[in-house]
Amino acid sequence: MPRLLLLLPSTTYRTTAFVEAARRIGADLSVASERPSTLEATNPAGLLTLDFQHPDRAAAEAHAFARQHPIDAVVGVDDDSAVVAAAVAERLGLKGNPPPAAVAARDKHRQRQLLAAAQVPVPGFALHRLDEDPRELAQQVVYPCVLKPLRLSASRGVIRADNPTAFIAAHARLSSIIAGCDTEFLVEEFVPGYEVALEGLLVNRRLHVLALFDKPDPLDGPFFEETIYVTPSQVPAGLQTSIAQCAERAARSLGLVEGPVHAELRYNERGPWLIELAARPIGGRCSAVLRFGDGVSLEELILRHALGMPIPSLAREALAAGVMMIPIPGAGVLQEVRGVAEAKSVPLVEDVQITAHPGERLVPFPEGSRYPGFIFAHGPTPGAVEAALRESHRRLSFVLTP
């Protein structure tokens, strides 16, 4: 059986989906994390620790591991591990993205530089240091603008400002969020428009669109908390083609060649705009809503592609599908979630997963980014799915204490 090296950060939501996918395709699985498993000594071929903070070091460690346990493919599951996977793939001569491309996809500033140079439509942007005087900056920028961390995910720390006063307040909040982990941030032009998310798979530089999600709730700020994703998109077919072409140009401009891509795009009267592109699959537990062919998961597609195994189908099922990232209900310590059974009983809703645990402190955006759970639905039309997600969410209530 082929051996797969799966890079799973210890804080990812995606462990179960990827481990189960590896089992389904019959791969010999080696799981690497940045922190050791307590059972590592019992299964030296199946568990290892790699330095995810230093991709070159991780690649050397993986190379040493592969001498004992030859590896046929390496897959990362999030922004950081995608960079490590690229370094490992290059070191071992496996299928993967060139490391500079993976790094560019990870770094929002580098990504915008490359995309702008390739004339991919991206918001105007400028890199600033945290220690610059925010009052001076506030007089220089064009409004409305968006302040954005370089490396955080899930829209954490992303804040819109419409005037100098809002800019100075946003700068203070962003500074406290990224203090200690970054010294720079982006200021971007705010691009008005309708936002969509594209899930794709690169095969030898060609982008295969696996799903295009509509985001029916406006994302106009001041914070950018995601809520509902529904597919298939209701965007006109011609515009969907333009969106896909924009995403493919972006991936090529970054130098990405293989594996999953998740892109956020907006469109308005001037056409599609590339807001973000990541060399990883969709985050959280959202991938559970995607099924391909006879029910193959997104993770199984990704692993089959990495291992060079036949892929039965890249076509998503005929039913409409949707997921709601349950909005953070407020700041406080979660005591209880009520109405889960009632929320699950809504027709078309397949599951309601509460991922926050009792006693956990919930932190709203922009300081927080951890959704308390997910709702999944399938149905005959995108509209019916969206309505089911909203009704299911309406039945939930979160009991918080200060």
Binding site: T16, V19, S37, T42, S155, S369
Partner: protein
Amino acid sequence: MDQDLRITAEPVDNHRCKFVVSQPLHAAGVRRFASAAEAKGSPLAEAIFAIPAGGVTEVIVSGNIVTVVKDNPAPWQAVGKAVGAAIRAAAASGAPAVAAKAAPAAGTVDDDALYERVARLFDEEVNPMVARHGGRVELIDVQDAVVMLRMGGGCQGCGMADVTLRQGIEGMLAQHIPEVRGIVDITDHTSGANPYFQASKK
């Protein structure tokens, strides 16, 4: 009756509950009873199956642990009191709570023997390791050579619980007890109050 006898009920869910007793009830391995007929001759199991409206479908007695499975979805308060009374009566009688087990037929899977071996593996090897992360793994049952377990402490809700299960525990079982055919994790991971690795990224 032993006035010092203490019984702690640990519901797994509304269908399955473990009763931990402060003294052993059956020291000679595991006894499993899947019906009232099978319980004949074992006073404790007979009494539990006879609980009115209890809906009891299975009783497992191992050392100081009595596991009761019922098919009605009602909470354990009412049935649990009756189980507690049955345990106290059995302990007070002085007679063996359950009868010794007959040798299994040749060629059949002996889940009780597997239960003992898995329990020993968990006690002696798995749990000392996962305890380093504040976790524990509890053997709930073995049915048709499939191990049913529940993860607790730092393992419950841990982002890496599936890795511990599939890359760690499953491999240890395959190595030490190859007769085991599978593992089912019945943990409610959403209720984990102190997971060692908290999933935190979008």
